[in-house]
Symmetry: C2
Subunit: 399 residues, 2 copies
C-alpha cells in the first residue's frame, strides 16, 4: 500500500507497545504520536487520488478542487544577523512571500513538522550569511501537484528550511519510508526514525563498531541523538553511561535503562563522575558535546578506545573558539581512534536502517520521546531553547 495520506487533527502522546497516556499540555510525548484521524470519507478520497497502482506507478487524477487559484502565502524565518554567542530572537525575521502556482512538473508543499537541530547553529557560523533563510528539514505534505511522482496528500521529507510552503520540481524530495504505519506520527521521520536515529545507528555500528559487553559513554544523552544512542547500545548488550544537564533528564535516562546517568551541571567533578560511573573506563565515547567534556573524557578512555565525533554543542555558541589541551599525547599512549561523521555517508543503507529503527520502536525497545512546540511562529524560540537544553528527546515544531 502506498503511504500517501496522513491527515492530522489532534495529537495524543502514546507509547510504543504500551499505548496511552498524554502530556500534550507540556508538549512532551514519551514515545511519539498517534494521529487521530478526521473525516474518513475525505481521507479515502485523498487516498484514491494519490494511490499507486500495482506496478508502483502513481495514478494521479487532478480534480478541479485540487487547483488553488489563490497564491499561497509562504512564511519563512530569515537569519538577519549572524549569531554572536547564543542566538537571540532579534537575529531572526519572519518573512512572508507569495508563491506562484506550481507549473507542470512541480508541486506545492505545506510543512507539517519542522526540525530544529544543534547542527544548524554550527552550520550558520560557517556556511550562511545574513539574509539567508534558516536551513533545515521538514515533513511536508503535497497540497497541489502537477508532478505525478508526488501526488496530492503524500508526505515527503524536504530540506527547504524554515518555511511553511515551497514549490518544488521534486528535486531533493524524499518520500517517507514505505509502509510507515498509520499509527506512528510522521514527526518521528525527523527524529528517532529519521536523521538523528540514523546518526545514532551509524555512529554505533559504522564508526564505533560497538561490541556486546563494552562500555559506552554518551553525552547530551537526553538529546535527539543521545537518547537513541543509549537505547541501541542497550539493545546490543552494552553498559551505557549518560551525561546530561538536568535531574529530570537523569531520571528519564535511568527509566530508559541507562546503567548510569549523571547531571554534569551539578556533579562536584566531571572527572570523578566519569570514574565513579565506570571505574574501568570506557571502550567507546559517542561525542555530542566536545570542549571541556572531551578533554576530561579522553583521560577515561580505555586503551584502543574509539570516539565517534557526532557533535560539539558546547562550542557552537563561541564567538572566540574555546581552546583545550591538544589530545595527541593521550591518543598515542592509549592508541585511541577518533572519527567525525555525518549520517549521509551511509545513505545507501538508509532504507534498511530505517526499517530496523521502526522495528525496534514497534517492539517497544526504542522509546521515541519528543519535545513538541506548536506554531511555526515559535521556531526561533524552539531553536534557542533546544540549544539551551530545554528539550528531552527530539525538538519538533508542529505547524
Amino acid at each position: 500500500m502506498c503511504n500517501c495520506v496522513s491527515r492530522l487533527s489532534t495529537h495524543r502522546a502514546v507509547g510504543a507497545g504500551k499505548r496511552g497516556g498524554s502530556d500534550s499540555d507540556t508538549q512532551q510525548s514519551t514515545c511519539g504520536w498517534r494521529e487521530t484521524r478526521g473525516n474518513e470519507e475525505e481521507e479515502k478520497g485523498e487516498r484514491e487520488r494519490g494511490e499507486c497502482d500495482k506496478d508502483g506507478i502513481f495514478c494521479h487524477i487532478v480534480r478541479p478542487e485540487d487547483i488553488n487559484i489563490n497564491m499561497v502565502q509562504a512564511k519563512s524565518w530569515i537569519l538577519t544577523k549572524l549569531f554572536d554567542g547564543v542566538p537571540k530572537d532579534s537575529d531572526f525575521k519572519l518573512e512572508v512571500e507569495e508563491l506562484p502556482e506550481p507549473k507542470d512538473g512541480e508541486v506545492l508543499l505545506e510543512s507539517v513538522y519542522l526540525s530544529v537541530d544543534p547542527y544548524m547553529r554550527a552550520f550558520c557560523s560557517f556556511r550562511m550569511k545574513e539574509g539567508d533563510r534558516m536551513i533545515g528539514t521538514q515533513v511536508s505534505k503535497v497540497i497541489q501537484s502537477k508532478n505525478p511522482a508526488f501526488p496530492v496528500g503524500i508526505h515527503v521529507l524536504s530540506n527547504f528550511g524554515w518555511r511553511t510552503h515551497a514549490v518544488s520540481d521534486g528535486t531533493g524530495l524524499t518520500p517517507i519510508m514505505p509502509d510507515w504505519p498509520q499509527d506512528v506520527s510522521l514527526s518521528l521521520a525527523l527524529g528517532a526514525i529519521g536523521m538523528p536515529g540514523l546518526t545514532a545507528l551509524y555512529g554505533i555500528e559504522e564508526v564505533l563498531g560497538l561490541q556486546e559487553g563494552e562500555t559506552l559513554l554518551v553525552n547530551a544523552a537526553a538529546g535527539a541523538v543521545g537518547l537513541v544512542v543509549g537505547q541501541i547500545a542497550k539493545i546490543k548488550g552494552c553498559k551505557v553511561v549518560g551525561s546530561t544537564g538536568s535531574d529530570a533528564k537523569v531520571a528519564y535516562l535511568k527509566e530508559l535503562g541507562f546503567d548510569e546517568a549523571f547531571n554534569y551541571k551539578t556533579v562536584a567533578s566531571l572527572d570523578e563522575a566519569l570514574r565513579k560511573a565506570s571505574p574501568d573506563g570506557y571502550d567507546c565515547l559517542f561525542e555530542n558535546v566536545g570542549g571541556y567534556f572531551s578533554t576530561v573524557a579522553l583521560q577515561h578512555m580505555k586503551n584502543f578506545g574509539r570516539i565517534a565525533v557526532c557533535g560539539s554543542i558546547s562550542v557552537y555558541n563561541d564567538s572566540t573558539p574555546q581552546t583545550g589541551p591538544y589530545p595527541h599525547l593521550t591518543m598515542i599512549f592509549k592508541q585511541l581512534k577518533m572519527e567525525g561523521f555525518m549520517q549521509g555517508r551511509w545513505q545507501h543503507k538508509h532504507p534498511e536502517s530505517l526499517k530496523r529503527l521502526m522495528a525496534w520502536f514497534k517492539e517497544g525497545k526504542l522509546q521515541c520521546r519528543e519535545h513538541i512546540t506548536k506554531g511555526f511562529e515559535k521556531m526561533p524560540a524552539a531553536f534557542i531553547g533546544m540549544l539551551q537544553g530545554e528539550n528531552i528527546g527530539k525538538a519538533i515544531i508542529a505547524v
Copy 2:
C-alpha cells in the same frame, strides 16, 4: 646461517645500491654503515662459538677465555630531575655500578648502539620519577653467556635503557632479524629497519591505509620516522609533502624524492605553505608534531582525510600544556579520522615487515640516513640535540 658475530672497528658511510662516500667527520651517514671487519681469524672463532646447528639449536662451547672473572663496570644515565621544559645536562647523572657475573641461564650484554627518540621525552613526563634510569632501546652484544639461547658474540635488541652493560636472563631480549646482511650496520635495527621504520610502515598501511595517487603530508619529515614515511609513500606512488626545520633538511628531502618540502621555521605562513604545496589539500597526515601545526593542518585535510597520530614533539617540552582550538567541528564537517598508535600493536607482523624494509633498503628505494654521536658519555647531549632537531635521520649513539 646464524648471524651471531658482527665485529665493529671503523665505520664508513655507504649508500644502499650505490656504495661509497664518507662523511664520518660530521657523524652523518647518508644511507647506513658498512662495517670494516677486523681479524678474520678471530671473527671466525667467535662465529664458531655462537653458531646454530642445522636444526636451529645453539651449540655454545664455553671456553676459559669467555669467563671474565672481573666484575664489569656498567655505566648508566640516571634522571636526577624531572624535566622542566627543555631537558638540560644537569637533569642527568652518570652512575657506575659493578655488575655480578651472570649466573646459570643469564648473559652479560654490552651496548654497541643506543637510541635516543622523541618518545622518551614524553615518557619521562608521564611514567618516570627522579632517580630512574633513562629508558630506551639498544643493540647489545652478548659478551658472556650462561644461556645457550644467547651465545657469546650474537647481537640482540634490548630495552635496558641508557646503560653500557646489563645482566639478563634473556627475558625481553629480541634477536636481530635473521639473515641481517653483514654489510649493513646493526645500528639500522634501531632506525629504518627497526622501531622507527616499523612505525612509519604501520602508520601508512595499518592506520592511514594510504592509497596510490593520494597526497600525504608528513611533519618532522627529516626525523627518524618522517624520512621513512616519505620514502614509503613515494614507493606507493603518492604525492609527498614534508615539513621540516632547516633548509638543509628541505634540500635532503627533495633529494630523496619528496614532491614538496618547506622549512616551517622560515615560511611566512604555515597555512599558506600548506596550501601552496597542495592546493587541493591532503588525503593523509602523518602527525609527528602536534600542537599548532595540527590545528593549521586540520584545515587543509580533504573530506574523509585520515590522520595517523604518531608523535607530538612540539608539546613534549611543555611544563604547562599548550592549548588549541578543539578539533571536533572540523572533524565532523570533513568527516576526518584521527588515530593514535604505537608500532608494538602489530608485533605479529614485525618479521615480515622488517624483511620488506630491508629489501627496500637493499634495492636503494629506502635511504637510511643516521646522525651518529660517538661516546656513551654524550647521550644526554645527543638526546637534547635530537629534541631540538639537530639530526637528519635517526639519532644514534655509538658506544
